[in-house]
């Protein structure tokens, strides 16, 4: 069970046990229920903020699932539905954190490899590492290639070429068209 969920369950369990001592009337029961819903809303707010921070820090990595799913609204949710939202957020947060940690380790390995490639390109022939591999935005890549083509291959003259970046979104336009806007 994710740690966030366990923390939240502990708080929630405490709230519930406190409430059960006091439930003597229906009104009191309703008050306790409402307090539980308020607690759950607070927990949802905390989890949503953590997920938002993680989302921003994950940029530009792609392919991470952030959706939690709606329980159907807009309406006032009951305790059970709020619990479902909270649990789903906690699970999503844990999964996203785990995925980011896994990718972080892979990116660290790539950064180490990149340093080696830059230091000794002849020992890493034809190796190509992109910004995406090291967890950075943009389309740049490093490529270990021979200088002067086949002659460089025969002579062992290897170097790292750095690409110039992303292609233009709309391709190349005629100079006259660039000033239309």
């Amino acid at each position: 069970m994710p740690q966030e969920l366990m923390e939240i369950e502990a708080v929630d369990g405490a709230a519930r046990s406190t409430g059960s001592l006091d439930v003597a009337t229906v009104d009191r029961g309703a008050v306790v229920e409402r307090r539980a819903r308020d607690d759950l809303r607070g927990q949802i707010a905390t989890l949503e903020r953590r997920l938002g921070e993680l989302f921003a820090s994950a940029f530009p990595r792609k392919g991470i699932e952030w959706r939690v799913g709606a329980v159907g609204g807009p309406r006032v949710l009951g305790t059970g539905e709020l619990e479902r939202v909270r649990d789903a957020l906690a699970v999503r947060l844990r999964e996203a954190q785990a995925e980011l940690e896994r990718r972080g380790r892979v990116e660290e390995d790539f950064r180490g490899l990149l340093e080696s490639v830059i230091a000794e390109p002849e020992r890493h022939r034809w190796v190509r590492i992109s910004n995406e591999d090291v967890g950075e935005p943009g389309c740049r890549h490093w490529h270990s290639r021979p200088r002067w083509g086949i002659l460089g291959m025969l002579m062992g003259w290897w170097r790292v070429r750095l690409s110039s970046g992303c292609p233009l979104a709309l391709g190349r336009a005629a100079p006259a068209n660039r000033h239309l806007e």
Partner: protein, 217 residues
């Protein structure tokens, strides 16, 4: 109506006041409808497009007001990643279309105010609304005009004193939104917990000033 008019506070159903503290509705009547967007507003949108790009869109969730709306969406059973909050919806369009594309004066006024403030704004035809506006859950059998079937009981809606005008953060009833025939507009802001009053008032004033023709660059 003078330019210094103060946005009116809408009513909130007692159940919602208890369950969702901080939920509020503020609105302002503007004596004009939509129309063609003047060049000065288009220029302002172009400047906004230059200022607002991918990194700003990504960091929206860090900003307190957009984050407050995301949290509120969760509280009412919506998923802000499936149905974006107003500011995220406008930002998403900016990223998809490469800029804030001008549509008409009202939509442009709302776009400017939403991006600048982060507050959820929408507009209704003032001559098609009766009495004061507010937020309440629907009762059994109620629906949105122009849409088949009724709404599930308890659905949160923006309503006037007789009928629902729109889903909260959702579709508008047929004929209640602003059309080319509209002569008076209600600019309406939904406030949630974590969104300060001053931001809501600023959003409404900003949209109103653009609509009245004082909001160019």
């Amino acid at each position: 109506m003078s330019d210094e008019a103060i946005p009116e506070a809408g009513w909130i159903a007692p159940l919602l006041r208890e369950e969702l503290p901080g939920l509020g509705l503020r609105y302002l009547l503007v004596d004009r409808g939509s129309g063609r967007t003047p060049r000065s507003v288009k220029e302002r949108m172009a400047q906004m497009s230059n200022r607002f790009s991918g990194p700003q869109a990504i960091n929206l969730r860090h900003r307190p007001i957009p984050a407050a709306y995301r949290v509120f969406y969760r509280h009412i059973g919506l998923d802000p990643d499936e149905q974006p909050t107003p500011v995220e919806g406008v930002a998403l369009e900016r990223i998809k279309r490469g800029g804030f594309v001008s549509q008409n004066l009202l939509d442009d006024a709302l776009t400017i105010a939403i991006i600048e403030s982060g507050v959820a704004l929408r507009a209704f035809d003032a001559d098609r609304a009766e009495g004061r506006l507010g937020i309440r859950p629907t009762t059994g059998g109620e629906g949105l005009e122009g849409r088949p079937g009724g709404l599930p009981e308890g659905t949160l809606v923006i309503a006037d004193e007789s009928r629902p005008l729109a889903l909260l953060f959702g579709a508008t009833s047929a004929g209640r939104g602003v059309s080319p025939e509209t002569t008076r507009t209600i600019l309406c802001a939904v406030q949630v917990k974590g969104v300060p009053d001053i931001a809501v008032e600023e959003a409404i004033w900003l949209a109103a000033s653009v609509l009245r023709g004082h909001g160019g660059s």
